[in-house]
């Protein structure tokens, strides 16, 4: 990286010096320039600058690309991600060819056909065949790119498989809440934004029995490897956007309009650590829709693990009711027996003990 900077600076300085050296001539020739009006001022050095720019930028491009490449994201850790990666580099290859050809022609022609005394430009106003060719060729290339992209897009945005692991992720200023469907029924309970308070931050609706075994995390999202993961995404205050760079996942979180994204992560965090030789590597979730002051720091860790350790981790988590037993009061009477199952051992009858139990576990929530 340091080299990139070094060389680019040298390139810039080199060109600046070249330009400034011409400036000397300018200052000298401010008045003298008008003598020979038949020859445009400074024409040939500008033409040569185009050639110099062509060569230097070509070298700079190739070289800077290879120096920067190591800092690109590693290969995607999700199945659709590798597909879009391939598509990206395939499109990029085609476009790079076009980029070089077209820019080469612009700069080369500028140099080649610079003003020469006595020359006359060719009167060449149109050529329908030529125009047709360069209308049709881009159209065909576009059709190819569109078609491959469209196939990938419709697969990625298709409905999630029935056996997906479902998670709910909610953005707020400035952090994420993740809700797991719990160990028993694998269903997320209902929510309602009007039920949100300082403890029930996600607005869990406890009149829905599916919510009894739900549990919540604010620091990390654990998902099993090689299984479809369906993220149900929402926001409670302003727009956010769930971005998991290594999974090639991005979807906005919109207040009032739940969104979703499903993907199959197929490399565990541990595998990725080994692959990168970085023992502290973590998958991360970031926000990519500007949401205010703390936008740049809405970090959530994503932990991909094998199914066994995932289940084990889930089993260790305390359900929402377990953490805040006083919310039992919100459970309708007919469901109370069911809810009792998720209460802390020795279901508290008075709220003071409930409070202490609650405090004991809130650390993981904050």
């Amino acid at each position: 990286m340091t080299y990139i900077v070094g060389i680019l600076i040298v390139v810039f300085l080199g060109l600046t010096i070249l330009v400034v050296s011409r400036l000397q001539n300018v200052l000298k020739g401010v008045d003298a320039g008008s003598e020979d009006s038949s020859k445009p001022e400074g024409n040939s050095w500008n033409a040569w600058m185009f050639m110099a720019f062509l060569v230097l930028s070509f070298v700079g491009f190739i070289w800077s690309y290879y120096s920067a490449e190591k800092d690109f994201l590693p290969e995607a850790s999700s199945i659709h991600g590798r597909r879009t990666d391939d598509l990206f580099w395939f499109s990029m290859a085609i476009l790079t060819i076009a980029f070089f050809i077209v820019n080469f022609l612009i700069f080369y022609f500028s140099w080649k056909y610079q003003y020469k005394k006595g020359n006359k430009a060719t009167f060449y106003p149109e050529n329908h065949k030529l125009e047709l060719i360069w209308t049709v060729i881009p159209a065909i290339v576009m059709a190819l790119l569109v078609f491959t992209g469209w196939k990938a897009w419709s697969d990625i945005t298709s409905d999630a498989p029935k056996d997906s692991e479902v998670f709910e992720i909610m953005g707020k200023q400035f952090g994420w809440y993740v809700r797991y469907p719990g160990v028993d029924n694998n269903k997320l309970g209902n929510y309602n934004y009007k039920l949100i308070d300082s403890q029930n931050e996600m607005g869990l609706d406890l009149s829905d029995e599916n919510s009894f075994d739900d549990f919540i995390s604010v620091s990390e999202l654990h998902v099993p490897v090689d299984k479809p993961v369906l993220l149900k995404i929402r926001a409670r205050d302003v727009l956010h956007s769930v971005f998991i760079p290594h999974m090639r996942v991005k979807m906005d979180a919109v207040p009032g309009m739940p969104t979703k994204f499903w993907f199959i992560p197929d490399k565990t965090t541990a595998e990725m650590r080994a692959e990168l030789g970085n023992s502290s590597f973590d998958y991360e979730i970031a926000c990519t829709e500007v949401c205010g002051r703390g936008h740049f720091a809405m970090r959530l860790r994503l932990i991909v693990e094998d199914e066994a350790s995932y289940r084990k981790w889930c089993a260790e988590q305390k359900t929402f009711l377990e953490t805040y037993p006083e919310y039992l009061a919100k459970v309708p009477d007919n469901l109370k027996p069911k809810a009792m199952k998720y209460m802390p051992e020795a279901a508290p009858s008075d709220s003071t003990t409930a409070q202490t139990t609650g405090i004991g576990t809130t650390a993981s929530f904050r």
Partner: protein, 626 residues
């Protein structure tokens, strides 16, 4: 016969006109109805805003390139926005990003570019005395000026200007409790933008009316210079799309101040659940981008029009594929209205809609490619003179291609998932829309400066300005693609909160240095511009040996542009280096009957129509009732 008669008549009228209203200073230079003065007002306001807008980008680039640096030396300018530790306030960072976007897109590249050159060139190139309505035109500028004053005032608020990004997505922009910048700053932003839109609509109606109604004798649509085609299409785009932004802004004002729920639903913020339900933040995005996407072409098309004119003139060749150029502009303009949702692939919009918009978006690449190839073929076998305007035009074509190509990646919804809202997008649109349009603005200023001020800008200084800017812009925005591929999100105050954002610190530093150097290079232009207004070399009547009509007007055209009759037009504006002709250009007002040596067979047939053209109504505002 009739021409002679009307000619005498014209002289009488002209006399009368010259004497009947000696204008005082205020009416002549400030509240002027003269399109040339209004154009200069737009240009100078645009330059003022550009310096502010670019300076802002330098400040936030400092933050991104040198996040640890102590920038308390900026405190005399930024005051409270630099905290005790000498660091930029994160809220103000967002405010800078927002204001940079708003200023550059709307105030510089829309008003500064379209406002300047549509006003200046439409009457001069179509052969009209002035705009259809000088009064509306004046009103247009002063609405813009008022919008500018309000936007400028918002920079000095205690809570800062609007800070939700230039797209001002609600609910962030709708809820003052969500963000400091969503208070008074946002209110002023909305008022300013509403006035700005009024200004654009007044201007746009005027441009369209003028082009349709006030073309001189013989100036058929198929003889219009491409600049005028571009301005006409741009004005139509603006006229259709800006009202939609106005409605979006009005609904946002309603949500903010009158408790409606157009964009708000199920929000819990600041410890309370808001009563609003049933609105949709996505609605705003649809409305915004219905303007926002055509807006890209509103800033780009005039630049492309200007470039077409300059490349043809300085290659000493006709523009290649004149009709294809018009067709591709019309195609781009039409498609511009039906691609807006490619900004919204990952908003949770129906994926099927995403596929439709992907198809439509990628079709735009075809007319764009045609334009690029036509420019290149115009260079081919030319006899190129590198005036500063020509250099900037060539630079524009390079940017248009380079930035346009990455658009093909972003328009692909499957690829956009990863790249949306990363620096890849920033790099893309800054090259294709920002830099390309800015180069159109520079090219236009260098090219038409002699017509505007009767003096020449310093040639060499212009060339040096070009090279520093051209190289600088590539050095700033090319590496940004790499950062985007690495997944860096835009509008981040710093990247250190994430492990994946820990790389590229030196590349970010490099970009910042390149940005500062490019910014400094602009002072060469500013100095050259203002110095040349007063001290530049006196211009000749047609310094670039150009064909278009404005160069037949006096060096310092007065009110009404031409003394005596408005010239008639007999040919297109691209008869450069015509075989058989002694000189390498034949202006539009030279009849075919005077150039038998260079006429093409079908042009000889048009000689018969010259009498008909001359017999036409003068279409002269000074003579017809208005």
């Amino acid at each position: 016969m009739s021409a002679v008669e009307t000619g005498i008549h014209a002289d009488v009228q002209h006399e009368e006109h010259v004497h009947h209203d000696p204008l005082n200073f205020w009416r002549k230079y400030v509240f002027s109805e003269d399109h040339k003065i209004i154009a200069k007002q737009y240009l100078i306001t645009g330059i003022f805003w550009a310096m502010i807008g670019i300076a802002m980008s330098v400040v936030f680039r400092l933050q991104l390139g040198f996040p640890q640096a102590d920038i308390s030396w900026l405190r005399p300018v930024l005051g409270q926005w630099i905290d005790e530790a000498g660091k930029l306030d994160p809220n103000f960072y967002l405010a800078l990003v927002t204001m940079h976007g708003t200023i550059m897109v709307f105030f510089v590249l829309t008003a500064g570019l379209s406002g300047t050159f549509s006003n200046f060139l439409i009457p001069l190139q179509i052969g009209a005395r002035d705009m259809a309505s000088g009064f509306l035109n004046m009103l247009s500028y002063w609405f813009f000026f008022t919008a500018s004053v309000i936007m400028f005032a918002s920079l000095f608020l205690q809570t800062g200007p609007a800070a939700g990004g230039w797209v001002v997505y609600p609910p962030l922009s709708a809820l003052p409790q969500a963000h400091e910048g969503s208070g008074m700053g946002m209110t002023l932003w909305l008022i300013s933008m509403a006035l700005f839109i009024v200004s654009q609509l007044l201007g746009g109606i005027n441009y369209i009316t003028t082009v349709i109604n006030l073309r001189t004798r013989g100036m058929t649509f198929s003889r219009l210079p491409l600049t005028i085609w571009a301005f006409l299409i741009t004005a139509i785009l603006g006229l259709i799309s800006f009202p939609v932004l106005l409605s979006a802004a009005l609904l946002l004002i309603f949500d903010r101040h009158f408790g409606t729920s157009f964009y708000l639903s199920e929000i819990y913020i600041g410890g309370e659940a808001l009563p609003n339900v049933g609105g949709s933040p996505i609605l705003f995005q649809h409305l915004f981008w219905f303007l926002g996407h055509p807006e890209v072409y509103i800033v780009l098309l005039p630049a492309l029009g200007i470039t077409s004119e300059i490349i043809a003139t300085n290659s000493r060749k006709p523009i290649f594929g004149y009709r294809a150029m018009i067709a591709s502009m019309l195609g781009i303009a039409f498609l511009a209205f039906i691609v807006w949702a490619h900004h919204m692939f990952v908003t949770g919009m129906n994926p099927f809609l995403g596929s439709v918009f992907m198809f439509l978006t990628l079709i735009i690449a075809v007319p764009s490619a045609v334009k690029a190839f036509n420019y290149i073929t115009t260079l081919w076998k030319g006899n190129i003179i590198f005036t500063p305007a020509m250099l900037f035009s060539i630079g524009l074509v390079s940017f248009f291609v380079t930035g346009g190509l990455t658009g093909i990646i972003l328009g692909n919804s499957a690829l956009d998932i990863q790249l949306h809202d990363t620096y890849f997008v920033v790099a893309h649109f800054h090259i294709v829309m920002g830099a390309a349009s800015a180069f159109g603005l520079f090219a236009g200023v260098y090219h038409w400066f002699p017509k505007m001020f009767g003096r020449m800008m310093n040639y060499r200084m212009g060339q040096i300005h070009f090279w520093l800017t051209f190289i600088g812009i590539y050095l700033v925005f090319f590496p940004m693609h790499y950062i985007g591929i690495a997944g860096f999100p835009r509008r981040y105050y710093q990247f250190t909160s994430f492990d994946f954002g820990k790389s590229f610190t030196d590349l970010n530093m490099f970009i910042t240095i390149a940005a500062v150097l490019s910014f400094l290079a602009q002072f060469i232009f500013v100095w050259n511009f203002f110095y040349s207004i007063f001290k530049g070399k006196k211009a000749t009547q047609n310094p670039w040996n150009s064909n278009t009509l404005e160069w037949t007007a006096p060096i310092n055209p007065g009110h009404g542009n031409w003394e005596g009759d408005i010239p008639a037009v007999y040919r297109w504006s691209y008869d450069y280096s015509k075989p058989g002709s002694a000189q390498d250009f034949i202006p539009q007002n030279i009849p075919y009957s005077q150039t038998p040596e260079s006429n093409l067979p079908h042009e000889n047939e048009q000689i018969a129509m010259e009498a008909e053209i001359e017999a036409q109504n003068f279409n002269d505002q000074f003579k017809n009732a208005h």
